[in-house]
């Protein structure tokens, strides 16, 4: 089966100023995004990840290179019909209600008239926006905007969903909710491409990651593989007395291992926050 997105030798130069100086935003990028996974595209600001996604979606033209989406040429109506997109910091017409927006996007995406109602309700349900769907978008909070944006991206049941900074500016509870939505989509067999520079969230949500810097791909692989330090081990021990510690260290040294540090494990602030805050004000 073909990859969800196949990028081969992609290059994009922007012309700057009157003299037309070239700024190379993407430099000979090649990667394969497999189907049915959550794929993270990471990198610092200005590394070319958003440009890459825009080229994939046909919003920006490539200087060189080739891209296929789900086996089809990119930037075609057929490819876009099978793709959903949530842009960074989404903005929608404030006078539309959430339901009207999702319906509007469903109709533009080719959902038939007899199935649009059900598709809209399903998308709203997936994004946990059913209750707020009849309010004007102008009254939504940041998190609600992201969720309604998510709904409009998936209403036409696309096979590939591209999310550009989906949790930017969203609180941890909202971010976790978006993470759950992403996993729900993956479990349905969708491919999700997630573009972000919030590494903690990417680590939790993604199956595979690619890291870009200055337009080039510097690393690519499964999250577990790229993060694991196989030359070291972590053991978590409960109720260890000083005597037990000394005996354990001696036993390990006898086998040639070396204990380099002993510390108490820490929770992350995010985990603590989630433990303490049980609900969001968004609903």
């Amino acid at each position: 089966m073909s990859s969800a997105i196949s990028v081969r030798h992609l290059t994009k130069d922007f012309r700057i100023g009157i003299r037309g100086l070239k700024l190379r935003a993407v430099d000979d990028l090649s990667l394969e995004i497999p189907r049915g996974q959550v794929y993270g595209l990471l990198g610092p600001n200005g590394c070319g990840k958003s440009t890459t996604l825009k080229i994939v979606l046909g919003l920006v033209s490539a200087t060189a290179g080739d891209i296929t989406i789900l086996g089809q040429p990119f930037a075609t109506s057929a490819a876009r019909r099978r793709t959903g997109f949530l842009p960074e910091a989404p903005y929608f017409h404030k006078f539309l209600t959430g339901r009207e927006l999702v319906r509007y996007c469903a109709q533009l995406s080719g959902v038939t008239a007899d199935s649009v109602g059900a598709a809209v309700e399903e998308a709203l349900g997936l994004a946990a926006m059913t209750e707020a769907a009849d309010r004007p978008i102008g009254t939504y909070s940041k998190g609600m905007l992201q969720r309604i944006g998510f709904a409009q991206a998936v209403v036409h049941d696309p096979e590939l969903v591209i999310l550009d900074e989906p949790t930017a500016g969203v609180d941890p509870v909202g971010s976790a909710a978006i993470g759950r939505m992403i996993h729900a989509m993956r479990d349905k067999g969708k491919t999700i491409v997630l573009c972000s520079h919030l590494l903690g969230q990417v680590e939790q949500v993604c199956d595979r990651v690619a890291i870009m810097d200055r337009g080039k791909l510097v690393l690519e692989g499964a999250v577990e593989d790229v993060l694991a330090r196989r030359d070291r081990h972590v053991m978590t021990i409960e109720s260890m007395t000083p005597a037990a510690r000394a005996a354990a260290e001696a036993a390990l040294e006898a086998h040639g291992a070396k204990v380099t540090s002993v510390t108490h494990p820490r929770r992350s602030l995010e985990d603590l926050f989630r433990e303490l805050v049980t609900g969001s004000r968004d609903a």
């Binding site: 825009k54 979606l57 996007c105 533009l108 080719g110």
Partner: protein, 277 residues
Amino acid sequence: MKASLQRILWISKVTFLEAVRQRFFAFLLVLSAAMVLSSVSFRVFDFGHGELKFIADFGFGGMFFFGSVLAVVMTAQLFFSEMDNKTALTLLAKPLSRAEFLLGKFCGAWAVLAVFVVVLASLLGLVLWAREAELIALAEQSGKIPATFSAGGLAEFVLLQWLRLGVITGIVLAISALARTFLFAVVVGSLAVVAGQLQWIAQDAVLKPSDSVLYEGFLWVSCRLIPNLQQFNIGDALVLGSAAVAPGAVVEVVLSGLFYVVAYLILGSLIFRRREI
């Protein structure tokens, strides 16, 4: 084809809703309406033009001036708000072609201009009708022939004004597809309207023979690229009967206007196709 038309319809519907909610539209509509209504009071300044002509001229002038301002500013604003707010990103990532997007924008803006023109024309027709009745009564007393106006002519004139504003909208969209900023689109769009109003000079020159091939070539290109907006200015003749309108002339003007609309929309689509969002 049907799906494409539906997508255009959805874009135009949302564009229309966005436009009529803007205070700018309401402001211009109220200002134009006030202008039409106030023409009845200003008739003390009338130097014997014929009162109906004075009132009609106020209405025609308001319809064109404020209609043109609305067409230029509102169309550019509707386009650039999508670009600047990045709603265009969301829409164009869907199976929606650039041409469909632009056509949807055009239809939405043109629908708003239809509302503007019809409301103003209705008000003008009402004022003319009321004043005509008063003048007929006065003329019968003094044994003079009263001035009258033609409601059918007013309807024809309204159609021509709507078409003229449609041509302006098409031009502004083509300019917006190329422009980087809203201000640039408004300024160049306004200059295009002025050029269109002065294009009759080139049209008159074309009717006269010339020896210079370069001059003739320049006139030929100019007459095709820049629409002659003065040809829509036959309100006096249609509404007040001040001059005869040749049979079929209105149809020719309509066809010319429609061709310009199509031409500028095609040009705008071709330019927009290459634009990076």
